[in-house]
Structure formats: C-alpha cells, structure tokens
C-alpha cells in the first residue's frame, strides 16, 4: 500500500489555523460484481476543498469507485466491497452508518441531467422536504441560495413553478447541482456531469465547479481529458480496476510517472 499523495506535493506555505486532515480516505478497496473484480486494491487520500478528477477508459472502474463514496452501488445485486472508506474519520461501510445521513453529506450529480418531473422549486426543495423540514420561509431561502450558488437563479427566478423539464439540458444539470447543494453536503460527487451537454453549457458548469471548490470537496469522473486538466487539482488515472497513478493534475498531465498514464493522456489508447 502506498501513500500516493505525500506531503511534499503540498503547498505548506499557506498558514492554516487548523491543519486539515484528509476529507476522504480509502484503504485497500476491492469491489466485486459476482465473480468480476471491478476495483483492485485502491487506496487514496482526498483533501478537503479540492477538485479530484478520475480519468480512464470506459469500464476502468472510475464510476464504480466514485459511487462507493455515497454507497450508490448498494442497490446492485451481487455487489460486494472489501476494504475501508473513511469520510471525516467515519468508516462509511460500517453497518451502523445511516445511509440517508451519509447521502446528505455526500451529494451526487449524475451523467445525464435527471431533474424530477416537478417544478423547479420542488426539485430544489425536495432534499429539504424529505428531511422533514416544514418551515416554508427556510425552504424558500435555501432554494434561492442553492439556485444562486448554481448560477441558475437569474434565469429561473420568475419561473420557479414551471416544470423543470422545460429547461435546457445545461440548465437542467445546473438545477441538479442546485438540488444537491440545497441539502448542504460537504462532498459532491460528479459522474461525467457534462458528457450530455454542449460546449457552452459545459463551460458554464466547469466554471461553476471551480467556484464551488472553496466550500466543497469535489470528485469528478470525466472522459474528457481537457476537462480534467482544466478544472481539477488532483487527477487519478484508473485502468482495469486499478489506480495506476494519482497526483497533482499538473504533474499527471506534464510529467506522469507511469508509462500507461502517459499513453492514455496522450491519446495512444483508451
């Protein structure tokens, strides 16, 4: 087992009052679907308020790995997981852990925009309402705040009662981000959030992700190498269920340690 992200890659000049530990740590994680091993011995540490990109060819396990962090794989039959995943020092695969609580803290944005067939307002308010929050004023405030954060407020503020399905693809995806933000998570998982969007919408979302970094720990799966290099601080390259390399994005894209990483990012395979 290797501590891939070591202190020497850190910029320690910033004087932080409290030295923040890792937000998320995985140790020797293995995932099986029946007989198929989808993830092999992956250990990694993710810093708070950073953007980490998972890259790799289709089927390399990056999405599976991402979905471990909010236990979204639990619904798949035959799914089996070994190893440890800690978020803020809590082992999230302990039996005692409350799934609902975990998922409030670890939000997720999916590949295709998937707003509920409800109004824009109801979409964002959903996460609050299922928590049993009834205070209308509080809900309205949080909805507005989330929409502002997701850079969608100005476009929808006069049409909050319109169906979310009337929005464009890019707006829908920002709505899904707003919906996730409304629950006030600390980690946001993004599973190829721009793969179904046009370049302009993509640029907007990337900008948004960049802004969110100051408050959230973001982990993003992407097929798009330019995207990874543009927005992320750290990049993890997966291949056949293994974590091949994990380092600062700049290092991965300019001077990768491993040959396979270099081949992939230069487009020689994948």
């Amino acid at each position: 087992m290797t501590e891939i992200m070591t202190e020497k890659t850190e910029d320690l000049k910033i004087e932080a009052p409290i030295v923040e530990k890792y937000k998320l740590q995985t140790r020797d994680v293995n995932v099986y679907y029946g007989d198929f091993q989808a993830i092999k011995d992956v250990s990694m540490n993710i810093k708070p308020r950073s953007i980490t990109a998972f890259i790799g060819p289709s089927g390399c396990g990056k999405s599976t790995f991402l979905r471990l962090f909010n236990r979204m794989n639990d619904y798949i039959e035959d799914f089996k997981m070994e190893g440890k995943i800690k978020i803020d020092d809590n082992n999230i695969y302990k039996n005692k852990i409350q799934l609902e609580q975990l998922r409030k803290d670890v939000g997720m944005v999916f590949q295709k925009p998937n707003p509920f067939p409800k109004s824009i307002f109801e979409n964002v308010a959903y996460g609050l309402k299922i928590q049993g929050i009834k205070d209308k004023k509080l809900i309205a405030d949080r909805v507005e705040k989330a929409l502002v954060q997701a850079d969608l407020w100005n476009e929808v503020k006069d049409n909050l009662n319109k169906s979310a399905l009337t929005l464009s693809g890019g707006q829908q995806q920002r709505l899904c981000i707003a919906r996730t933000l409304a629950v006030e998570p600390s980690i946001i998982l993004m599973d190829e959030p721009t793969s179904a969007l046009d370049p302009i919408s993509t640029a907007k979302i990337e900008e948004l992700i960049h802004h969110l970094k100051k408050d959230y720990t973001i982990i993003i799966v992407t097929h798009n190498m330019q995207q990874a290099s543009r927005i992320s601080d750290y990049t993890a390259f997966f291949y056949m269920g293994e974590l091949i390399e994990f380092d600062k994005t700049k290092k991965i894209f300019t001077n990768p340690e491993k040959k396979r990483t270099e081949n992939y990012i230069t487009g020689r395979f994948g």
Partner: protein
C-alpha cells in the same frame, strides 16, 4: 409475380383490419337504431329521471337510474378493494421485490384475471356472502357487497400489472437522484416514482373501472336481479349488465319494447365505457410524449 403476391398479402391484411372496423360500426349502428326506436316510445327525460325500472311488470317504468346505481355501486366497491391492494402490490414489486421474485409473481397475479368470471360469481355467492353473513346477519343472500369485493379481487391484476409497468418504466436515474439526496426507499417510491408514473397509474385505474362496469357474470350471479335505486350494499341490486342477461335469457318477444330496453341499457353502458376508454387513451398519449 412477386409483386402480385405482395399485393394479395397487403390487401388481405387490410381486409382483416376493415372487418374489425365494420363489426364495431355494425354493433354501434344496431345499438343506436334499436335505442332510437326505444326512445320513440319512452321519453328520454323519463329514462334519465324515473327512479324505477320495471319494463317486465304490468306497471311499466323505464328509469335507468336503478340499474345505473347498481352498476356504480358494485364498481365502487370493486375499486375500493382493487385500488389499495393493486397499488400496494405494484409498488412492492417495482420498488422493493428482488427481480427474480417479481418475475415469478407477476404472471401468477395475472392468473387472477384469467379465472372465468362465472367462477368468481359462484365464489361470491356460496363463499363470500355466507362468510360475511356471520358478521352482518342482515346481509341478504344477494347483495352488491360480496359481488363488489369479489369483482375487486378479479380486477386487482388490471391495477397492479399496469401500474407496475408504469412504475417500472420510471427511469432509474430519478430513483438514484432521490436516493442520492438521502431519501429512503419509501420516500423515493411515494414522492418520486409514484408521481412520475401517475398517468400510467390513472390509466390502469380507468381500465379497471371500465372492466368492472362491463363485468356481467359476477353481478348477475351474486348481486341479485332487483333493480333498486339504493346505495345500501347489503341488499340485492341489479346492474345494467345483469339486466341485459336477464332479458336476453327470458322469452321477450323480438322487436317489442321490452326487447328494446336491452339496447337502451346497452347504449348507456357503451357510453360509459367509451368515455372511460377515451379518457385513458388521451392520458396514455400525453404520457408517452412525456417520456420521449
């Protein structure tokens, strides 16, 4: 040669389609003509407002209301049974049950609809009614309660199977979005999946109602044959369908006014089921658009 063959096949396919349409049109025409002749002798106003239906008695009344109330009462009881049970089954199967269980249980459930309705009628009369009489001594031997309950059991698969299809068709992405925000399975089922499938569920309910209104054997056997304007489920009533059976089996003279009452009753039934089918067709069309 090949072209001629193609042509023959095409035309024969077309003609079989035309036959179906012709038969439907024919039925509607006969219904309409006979009903028209009926309404030449009986005023339409009396037909709709008279509270008695006694075309076979010496003192004749031609008010459809007693038959209509019998039909609606048994249908209402049936839906009250089928809706909660059918919907629970569909939500369980689509949201909770393991896939293999769902695959086995669904065809089994649909068997309920495959049992001949005469069997259900008999069951209502000789099993359900005597059983209910243990708790409700005033329950008469023929009543709309047991007929309605048994009819409700029969139409459970209409509700459960079609609703389940609608629930299952809700994209997985919506469920994941809901789980991803910390919703439980129950919350996801009722706040996301059921609303998203609501049009499909409504269609299933309408089709079940339509089936219940048209159901004949159960009510003819177990609900009695006494046209009575009542909402009391414990007394004998007669539905439109049961009346049609009663008269068709009797020795009413062809072409007489008594004979034409069948068509007046029949067209009433037709109007109801036609309206229900139209509504469900509209909803289904809208619903298809939503997912495409």
């Amino acid at each position: 040669m090949r072209k001629i063959k193609e042509l023959i096949i095409e035309k024969s396919l077309l003609s079989s389609a035309l036959v179906t349409i012709a038969v439907t049109v024919g039925i509607i025409l006969v219904l309409a003509i006979e009903a028209f002749l009926f309404f030449k002798e009986v005023s339409f106003f009396d037909f709709l407002t008279d509270t008695q239906w006694t075309p076979l008695f010496t003192e004749k009344h031609y008010g459809i209301l007693p038959l209509l109330s019998g039909t609606l009462l048994t249908t209402f009881i049936a839906i009250s049974v089928a809706l909660p049970i059918g919907l629970s089954i569909s939500i369980y199967l689509s949201e909770y049950a393991p896939r293999s269980f769902r695959k086995t249980i669904k065809p089994l459930l649909e068997l309920l609809a495959a049992v001949p309705s005469v069997v259900y009628g008999f069951f209502a009369l000789v099993v359900v009614t005597p059983y209910l009489q243990q708790f409700m001594p005033s329950l008469s031997g023929f009543n709309s309660l047991s007929a309605g309950i048994v009819m409700g059991i029969m139409i459970i698969p209409f509700v459960s199977s079609l609703s389940e299809d609608a629930l299952f068709a809700v994209p997985k992405a919506l469920r994941e979005a809901s789980y991803g925000m910390g919703a439980t399975r129950l919350q996801t089922a009722f706040k996301v999946v059921v609303p998203a499938a609501s049009s499909g569920i409504i269609v299933s309910i309408i089709l079940a109602i339509s089936r219940a209104i048209g159901e004949t054997m159960i009510v003819a056997i177990a609900a009695g044959q006494q046209p009575r304007l009542t909402l009391d489920p414990t007394v004998p009533v007669e539905t439109i369908t049961a009346y049609i059976v009663q008269v068709s089996l009797g020795d009413v003279q062809h072409g007489s006014l008594e004979y034409r009452t069948i068509f007046a009753a029949g067209i009433t039934l037709f109007v109801f089921t036609f309206l229900l089918n139209t509504v469900s067709f509209r909803i289904r069309k809208k619903y298809r658009e939503k997912y495409e």
